[in-house]
């Protein structure tokens, strides 16, 4: 490595712009920070030697320089910003509303939004945030962040550590805040030192030269916050592994017991009761709002019993459950156990559990028989009295009439409809009956008009169903850590500033210069206070507005 020896005696690494010790501009390197074109020195990285600015030969150098450019970083951020915005034009796939024309994305977008919807879907924007290119973009931001920070942090750290109180006059003159005073007494200098100390500056003097410094740690703010961001990105990466992250959904009916998915069949859940409460319309505080909007729910809650499966001593032994806990789960109040969390996520009111039908002879209105369908477990055929038999030829749990004929919206038994084939002992074939659509107009439909027997609903049982999400997320603490470090870093960089004031002796007088990375207004006020009651000239702001 080529080293550069400054006239002050300090040996600087190759690529240095301003001597680490005395700040003298190093000839031949001034173009790196653009100092050759301006009077004021670029102090951003103290003129330290950054790898990206020094080496540019091998391919690795080129990649390094590319990613450590803030210009590239900002472009990546802006592209991510625009892409994110595009993804909100239409709902993402997971937010296609339940009452949409169709929940199939290939139909939904075009049907609902026309041509632009079709394009949105075909370009894959409906799953934008999990697309490979969006993730790549975020990953590139991460890479850029790491390289950028490494490129600057180390040399900056060294430069700040090696700085001396005595600075080269050309360094001081080219600071934004500068003044020169020809005659200053020792008493006045002492006064300045006291005033600096009073303002909590750390004062160093070397051979009569003064460096007062405050808040250097705030220079590390950006690097700290970038570390926080990296931790968050790593956490997001880890989250893709199913050991770290489980996401399941269980539907469980009132009174029913079912295994909790994702727990390796270790835990079972029973829904004791689902509760939906609404606000009292007589509550005068809310009366007007309720009148306008209709009933407003105040609580969704599932009371559950959690069971734990006993260890099986012999494989194949019958499952034994023991009560593990009882809990009330409601919105904003999930239930946690053994690393898992259960959330009240959804519900279905009044689903059909069983339906009882009667078969009647149309000619004499005599009932032949009744049969009950358990909708959790419908049979193919039901044998009735006198050799009658009913077969279910079609079953739509949530019936509706689609463009292509009868269909079921979901598997929830919200509006069951059946096509029955009723075979009678006396005739050969079977009569076809359509029965259902209780939510709209109950229909009992006979396509041929020649049926002799009618099937009709005479009784039904209903139940509520709770939907609970099951989560286990070991990455949460990592996200929390990343977020905390990020916050510390931004606050460190934003709410404190690195201020420096140099008072260097020149002949009988002094050169006074000041630099801060932010909040020049504050620094100017500091200097004003420091030199008040002395003959030292107030600094001039030499900023060149461009």
């Amino acid at each position: 490595m080529k080293h550069i020896k400054c006239e002050c005696g300090h040996v600087n690494p190759e690529g240095t712009v301003l001597c680490e010790a005395c700040g003298k501009p190093i000839e031949g390197n001034q173009h790196i920070d653009g100092n050759d074109r301006k009077k004021l020195l670029n102090m951003r990285y103290e003129g330290s030697a950054r790898r990206s600015q020094t080496y540019n030969k091998s391919i690795i150098d080129k990649i390094w320089s590319f990613f450590s450019s803030v210009k590239v970083g900002v472009w990546l951020i802006v592209i991510a910003l625009v892409a994110s915005a595009i993804g909100t034009i239409y709902p993402q796939k997971m937010y296609i509303p339940a009452d949409a024309i169709s929940r199939d994305p290939s139909i939904f977008y075009e049907e609902t939004y026309g041509l632009t919807g079709k394009i949105f879907y075909q370009l894959g924007f409906h799953v934008l945030y999990s697309s490979w290119w969006y993730m790549l973009l975020i990953a590139l931001i991460g890479v850029s962040l790491v390289i950028c920070s490494l490129d600057r942090f180390v040399p900056l750290y060294k430069a700040l550590k090696r700085q001396k109180a005595k600075r080269h006059p050309s360094f001081l003159e080219r600071q934004r805040l500068f003044s020169q005073t020809d005659h200053v007494t020792d008493g006045e200098k002492e006064q300045v030192i006291q005033a600096l100390k009073k303002q909590k500056y750390k004062v160093r003097h070397e051979e009569g030269h003064i460096l007062a410094e405050k808040g250097r740690f705030s220079r590390w703010g950006p690097y700290v916050n970038h570390i926080g961001l990296i931790i968050i990105l790593l956490a997001a990466l880890l989250r893709t592994s199913s050991f770290m992250y489980i996401d399941e959904y269980v539907w469980v009916r009132e009174g029913e017991q079912t295994v909790i998915d994702g727990t390796d069949s270790q835990f079972y859940i029973e829904n004791k009761e689902f509760i939906l409460e609404t606000y009292d319309e007589n509550d005068e505080r809310f009366a007007e709002a309720i009148k306008k909007q209709g009933a407003i729910p105040s609580n969704f809650q599932t009371n559950v019993i959690i069971y734990k499966a006993k260890e099986q001593e012999v494989p194949g032994q019958e499952l034994e459950l023991e009560v593990y806990d009882e809990a009330e789960i409601y919105m904003n109040h999930p239930y946690k156990f053994e690393g898992y969390t259960l959330y009240q996520a959804g519900y279905q009111l009044n689903e059909f559990t069983t339906m009882t039908f009667a078969v009647t002879d149309i000619n004499n209105n005599e009932q032949i028989d009744q049969f009950m369908i358990d909708l959790t477990n419908p049979q193919e055929t039901y044998e009735l009295n006198d050799g009658f038999r009913v077969m279910i030829s079609e079953y739509y749990p949530e019936y509706y009439m689609s463009d292509n004929g009868p269909d079921s919206r979901t598997d929830n038994t919200k509006n069951p409809a059946f096509v029955f084939a009723v075979s009678t002992p006396d005739s050969e074939g079977a009569e076809v009956s359509f029965v259902g659509d209780y939510m709209n107009t109950p229909t009992n439909f006979d396509a041929t008009g020649e049926n002799d027997y009618r099937v009709e609903l005479i009784d039904a049982e209903m139940h509520n169903v709770s939907g609970l999400t099951v989560r286990r997320d070991y990455t949460l603490p990592l996200f929390g850590l990343g977020a905390a470090i990020f916050m510390i870093g931004v606050m460190q960089g934003m709410y404190w500033q690195h201020r420096r004031i140099w008072v260097n002796v020149k002949g009988d007088g002094v050169l006074l210069a000041g630099h801060t990375n932010k909040n020049w207004f504050g620094l100017k006020k500091d200097i004003e206070k420091v030199i008040s009651d002395t003959s030292i000239n107030q600094v001039i702001d030499q900023q060149e507005l461009d």
Binding site: L81, T88, Q92, I101, Y113, N332, P334, T469, A483
Partner: protein
């Protein structure tokens, strides 16, 4: 008097105090001597503080009346944003002592409050997903963060009005004029809503959406009716045209109608102002800003971002994520509101990087500050009312 009426009265009082304070800040501009601090500036600040206290009274009494912090619907949220803006202005005022900030910040806060009041103001109970202490923690920090960032818009706007050449028509002053014009659109919305509220206009239209029947209650005469709609109120006027079919969602026609009326009213008011001034509004204001120091304004723009950015990150991303984890079982779900918070955050991160590393000072910074405010307003208005996901306020 019950708590609810006290709270409404207090908000009204705050509005009036801000209005009077604005006039005092206006007077500081005419002060010939820049050196003496000026009485009117002091009175202006005192009135602003009084107004803020009145608004705090509104906030607290409404909280008592409803049993929850008043940040749960569009009216309450936008009002608290306006309150935050006043507080943020005061913070920056006490750092930099620039009274002209108040001359612009207070009217913007007043526009926000008036805008908010056009939405239903009655107290609504909290739906289960909002019943959490995180509601207060999250929403108030976001409001405050947004408000501090909005101060950078205020100083950026003043900077632009002061600095941009108005002698000949050019791209820059047309853009600036567009920004000012868009403020007039808000005023248009406020004026036209108040007019029709006063006349008690109401007409109901039925329409089909996704095979279901809905009704929209129009409070302004229907220029744009619902797509495939029918008149339900006897004698109500027939819409001039129907909202195009690609505008989906409930009440799409009604929202479009409100927008059309607001644009008409805003444009009319703007037109009258232009006729009176006989020049661009920006050009008319410019001479009054001669004495403001552009460096100082630029510093305020940056400072507001550096103060606001961490607050916004904390409220809009971190607290939001914690609450989402508790309420919705995932801390991040790419809901439109969340995405727009992320966009805001990306935007201000870009602002900071451009400023720090690429030297985007002065005018460039000011334009960016305006852009950031546009994003914030987009998130509050368009996302809530149009893109609405889980966070729907309206």
């Amino acid at each position: 008097m019950d708590w609810f009426s006290i709270s409404s009265g207090a908000l009204y009082t705050a509005f009036i105090l801000y209005l009077i304070a604005t006039f005092f800040f206006g007077a500081t501009i005419k002060d010939k001597k820049t050196t003496h601090k000026g009485k009117s500036g002091t009175i202006g600040i005192a009135l602003t503080i009084a107004g803020l206290i009145a608004q705090l009274v509104y906030f607290i009494t409404r909280w008592i009346a409803s049993g929850h912090a008043p940040v749960s619907n569009m009216f309450e949220f936008v009002t608290s944003f306006g309150m935050g803006l006043v507080l943020a202005f005061l913070i920056l005022y006490f750092i930099y002592r620039i009274t002209v900030l108040g001359l612009f910040a207070l009217p913007i806060a007043m526009i926000l409050i008036a805008y908010a009041s056009m939405f239903p103001t009655e107290i609504a109970p909290l739906v289960p997903s909002l019943k959490s202490h995180w509601l207060y923690i999250h929403v108030t920090t976001v409001s405050l963060g947004n408000a501090i960032l909005a101060v950078s818009f205020v100083s950026g706007l003043i900077f632009l009005i002061r600095q941009i050449d108005q002698t000949v028509k050019n791209k820059k002053n047309i853009w600036l004029e567009l920004i000012i014009y868009s403020l007039f659109l808000f005023i248009g919305f406020i004026v036209i809503s108040s007019v029709f509220n006063a006349t008690n206009y109401e007409a109901v239209y039925g329409y089909q959406y996704n095979d279901k029947s809905y009704q929209s209650t129009y409070h302004m005469p229907p220029i744009a009716g619902p797509h495939n709609g029918e008149i339900l109120t006897p004698g109500a006027m027939k819409p001039l045209f129907e909202a195009p079919s690609w505008m989906h969602g409930k009440d799409a026609g009604q929202k479009l109608n409100t927008i059309i009326w607001s644009i008409m009213a805003g444009t009319l008011i703007y037109g009258i102002v232009r006729l009176v001034l006989r020049k661009r509004v920006g050009a008319a204001i410019q001479p009054y800003l001669n004495k403001t120091n552009p460096d100082m304004l630029d510093e305020v723009t940056y400072r507001a971002v550096t103060i606001g950015f961490p607050v916004f990150t904390l409220g809009g991303l971190i607290f939001a994520a914690i609450w989402a984890q508790i309420a919705w079982d995932r801390f991040w779900g790419w809901d439109p509101k969340e995405v727009w918070a992320l966009i805001t955050w990306f935007f201000y991160a870009a602002f900071l990087h451009l400023r720090l590393s690429r030297g985007w000072h002065g005018e460039k910074s000011a334009w960016l500050a305006v852009g950031g405010f546009a994003i914030i307003m987009f998130n509050i208005i368009v996302v809530n009312l149009v893109l609405a996901g889980l966070h729907s306020y309206a």
